[in-house]
């Protein structure tokens, strides 16, 4: 009995989906737009996150040591820094390397190089470049230097300067931009998704509204609520499946184009991303398509099934 009913409901839903022609195409298109919005937002979020991670990577703090600081004590500090939980990476630049970099950078600046030659000593000190796991942690790292007595050589500090204080404003602003961007991105995504869901709901509702006569006839012929609702839900599922397939296909040329043209600009090759996450993305589309189709059908039809 149950199996026969299920079979009949599926067959009936499939037939009405196939025979409704234009109506089915219209609802697939609307659903496609919704799914497209959802996936685009995933793309945008990914791009945003990549960009933010890139920026975070570029933020660092450099500790400059006085030229006569011994390499041993600097290496000790490096080891101590690496033990801090906030620190991701520490790289050491010796004073010779600093000089070489400086010369290279000013290769065309004859005057500067000449001035440098006048000095017999290397005026540049060694430095440690510190990267934190999160930009908000630079402050506590720089404080570490101010408080630690191991950093003093006799009564003089071997630390020449920490450029955190120069970068502080930039780092703080960057932090608030990153937080803001993430929050704004989430809010926009939420609003767009809600809007497209409402559009899908209204479309399905209109389509079922066109069938209200049919529903009343079915009731008068003695069909139970489940038997009337079933085929509409099956149609909704089919719309969801078709829309997710259409969206998947549409996304190929779009992501190829974005991959070819925009990779440098947005910092991530979306086609590579699409290919790499194809299965997850397809499941997300299929899942949201089917769920949207089913829920909107149930909501729309229940209006006409009340006595």
């Amino acid at each position: 009995m149950f199996i026969t009913d299920t079979k009949r409901i599926i067959r009936s839903g499939y037939r009405s989906f196939m025979r409704s022609g234009f109506t089915s195409i219209a609802s697939i298109l609307i659903m496609t737009i919704t799914l497209f919005v959802i996936v685009s937002l995933i793309f945008i979020q990914t791009t945003l996150n990549t960009a933010l991670t890139d920026i975070k990577e570029k933020v660092d703090v450099t500790v400059y040591f006085v030229p006569n600081a011994s390499e041993d004590s600097i290496q000790n500090i490096k080891v101590a820094l690496e033990k801090l939980p906030e620190v991701k990476d520490v790289s050491y630049t010796s004073s010779e390397e600093a000089l070489a970099t400086f010369k290279e950078r000013h290769a065309n600046d004859y005057l500067t190089l000449q001035a440098l030659d006048e000095l017999n000593d290397n005026p540049l000190g060694a430095s440690l470049n510190v990267k934190a796991k999160d930009p908000s942690q630079y402050e506590s790292i720089s404080k570490y230097f101010e408080n630690d007595s191991a950093l003093t050589l006799g009564s003089l500090s071997i630390v020449d300067k920490i450029d955190y204080h120069q970068n502080k404003v930039v780092i703080d602003r960057l932090n608030s931009i990153i937080n803001g961007a993430q929050r704004l991105g989430f809010a926009i995504s939420l609003v767009l998704i809600i809007i497209s869901i409402i559009i899908t709901f209204s479309t399905v509702r209109l389509i079922i509204y066109m069938s209200r006569e049919e529903i009343s006839v079915m009731r008068l012929v003695g069909a139970g609520s489940k038997y009337i609702r079933g085929p509409f839900i099956v149609s909704g599922i089919l719309v969801g499946i078709m829309a997710s397939i259409v969206t998947t296909i549409i996304l190929f040329p779009i992501s190829i184009w974005l991959g070819n043209q925009m990779t440098d600009f947005i910092g991530i090759n979306l086609f590579t991303y699409y290919k790499a996450n194809f299965v997850q993305l397809f499941i997300i589309m299929l899942g949201s398509g089917i769920i949207l189709g089913v829920i909107s059908s149930i909501f729309a039809i229940n209006r006409y099934l009340r006595k």
Binding site: S12, E214, V217, M218, L220, V221, G222, A223, Y227, K307
Partner: protein
């Protein structure tokens, strides 16, 4: 079989659509209800199907009050009643065969029964060669014959035909009335509403005349009187 007990139906406060109706219809009867447009014929059929609820009084089918049935009981009750409408009300996305099969599927008949009964009833209404046509491919008379086939396929105890000939030419009207008479001869109760004089004269059975929501005549073998 059907009893109207002091039934009044008002759609608005001032003008009752039906007022103080007392009718009893026995099993196996062929009852025609006549009256001008707006006399209350359609409201009467809607009350029987529980599409509308009476403002006052009650309608009984056998010994049950139709308007006190639960949703599921109502579905079961409707399966005992076949309905034919003036505007056919076929399912537009289903072929003639599927329209009839749907009524059987809805009542939980097996696939074998459906495969056996549907061609039979299509033959009865002379639509065997149009089984795979959709409603929009059928003429008015054919649509109404299909609607009758759908109404009788579940072997209901009562057939309600609400102005079944309203949209048909005289030849098709004749055919539809003959089919209804044949169904009645086989033992099914038929309730027919119409304002067509020739239909009443052709049927030549009990006629109830409604005017302004009241029963003004109830004749055993009536003629069209208004």
């Amino acid at each position: 079989m059907i009893y109207f007990n002091n039934v009044t139906k008002k759609y608005d406060d001032d003008n009752p659509s039906l007022e103080d109706i007392n009718i009893s219809i026995a099993a196996g009867e062929f009852v025609s209800i006549v009256g001008h447009s707006g006399a209350g014929k359609t409201t009467l059929t809607k009350l029987i199907l529980a599409e509308e609820y009476p403002t006052d009084g009650s309608v009984y089918f056998e010994s049950t009050d139709i308007h006190k049935l639960s949703k599921n009981e109502l579905t079961n009750f409707r399966r005992k009643v076949g309905i034919v409408f003036q505007d056919f009300r076929l399912l537009p996305n289903k072929t003639a065969y599927e329209n009839i099969a749907f009524a059987m599927e809805a009542t939980g008949k097996s696939d074998e029964e459906i495969a056996e009964d549907v061609p039979h009833v299509l033959e009865l209404v002379d639509l065997s060669n149009k089984a795979n046509h959709f409603p929009h491919q059928l003429s008015g008379g054919e649509k109404q014959r299909l609607a009758i086939a759908r109404a009788i396929i579940t072997q209901p105890e009562l057939i309600i035909a609400d102005e079944p000939t309203g949209n048909l030419d005289p030849i098709n009207t004749n055919e539809v009335v003959n089919i209804l008479k044949k169904i009645n001869d086989l033992g099914t109760t038929v309730l027919l509403t119409t304002h067509n004089r020739s239909v009443i004269d052709q049927v030549n059975k009990r006629v109830i005349t409604l005017e302004n929501g009241r029963v003004i005549r109830d004749d055993k073998d009536g003629k069209y009187m208004i």
